[in-house]
Symmetry: C2
Subunit: 163 residues, 2 copies
């Protein structure tokens, strides 16, 4: 975030303006994504946190992880009270179901209901299709380049500094 409104002082990050523009472009995409999430939330009587929770649960599902309340709270950065509140809201809307884990009966497993999945598909499906169409127009080598970029960027942002 350089303050380049003073044309006489190039900041230390302005050395590669072309690459820096790509960074800003990436950030713009993340902002867009957040706005779409918020829009989906508002349109379905939810809060952004609730949408993030659903996404988190579907991710856990996809990764075959146990989708417990504790994991959800940790991923969302909420404390236990807030986590209970999120699950309460989603349960009240019929989007998730609480299921006692029979292996460890302290735990609550969360199942995303089909209705919520359908809702998400309706809203995000066209957007996902749009990106897939973009990717279809790319050559296999280009897709590989995109993958390398996203993987490396993910690695840069995923390394947490201080817990």
């Amino acid at each position: 975030m350089p303050d380049n409104h003073e044309p006489a002082e190039p900041g230390p990050l302005d050395r590669e303006p072309d690459n820096l523009q790509l960074v800003h472009l990436l950030r713009a995409v993340t902002v867009d994504f957040g706005l779409r999430q918020a829009e989906f939330a508002a349109r379905n009587g939810m809060h952004p946190t609730d949408v993030r929770a659903l996404i988190c649960l579907l991710d856990a599902d996809r990764a075959a992880e146990p989708a417990t309340a504790g994991l959800l709270g940790a991923r969302l950065g909420l404390n236990s009270a807030g986590t209970t509140a999120v699950i309460d809201r989603l349960e009240r809307l019929g989007h998730v179901a609480r299921i006692r884990d029979d292996q460890d009966r302290r735990r609550i497993l969360l199942r995303v209901e089909p209705g919520a999945i359908r809702l998400g598909r309706e809203f995000f499906g066209p957007l996902i299709d749009g990106v897939l169409k973009v990717l279809d127009s790319f050559a296999p080598a280009e897709r590989h380049t995109v993958r390398r970029f996203l993987t490396a960027t993910h690695a840069v942002f995923a390394s947490g500094p201080r817990p």
Copy 2:
């Protein structure tokens, strides 16, 4: 977001699993970014909205737009009361200054203070440098591919459906 835990039923979006994985990767990057923003906020006694506000103001600065309170509220999706509250918080922390516009004395122009810029650079600088390093390792043609992808994706996500 397919529910592919039922191996017998491939959803309509699972036709290009390789490209779909790229979509999930992109989303993961956006999630990472959001987490870093929240982390920066918490570490500096701010809220995620305040950080988004600062980023918005710096973007406006970069684009040579007038950074008014109204514009800020519109970009953040806040009403006037919430916008005033955000600016109050940022002003109290000394991160922005309110400046009456002499051309239109109803308006408040917002200036991001150098201290806030320094704070942002300290935190996000290494992350940005990390992405720039990734880009430096790419050939010019590859960087162009990444740019094409990000630009097209931005276009997909930026088109707002219903205002």
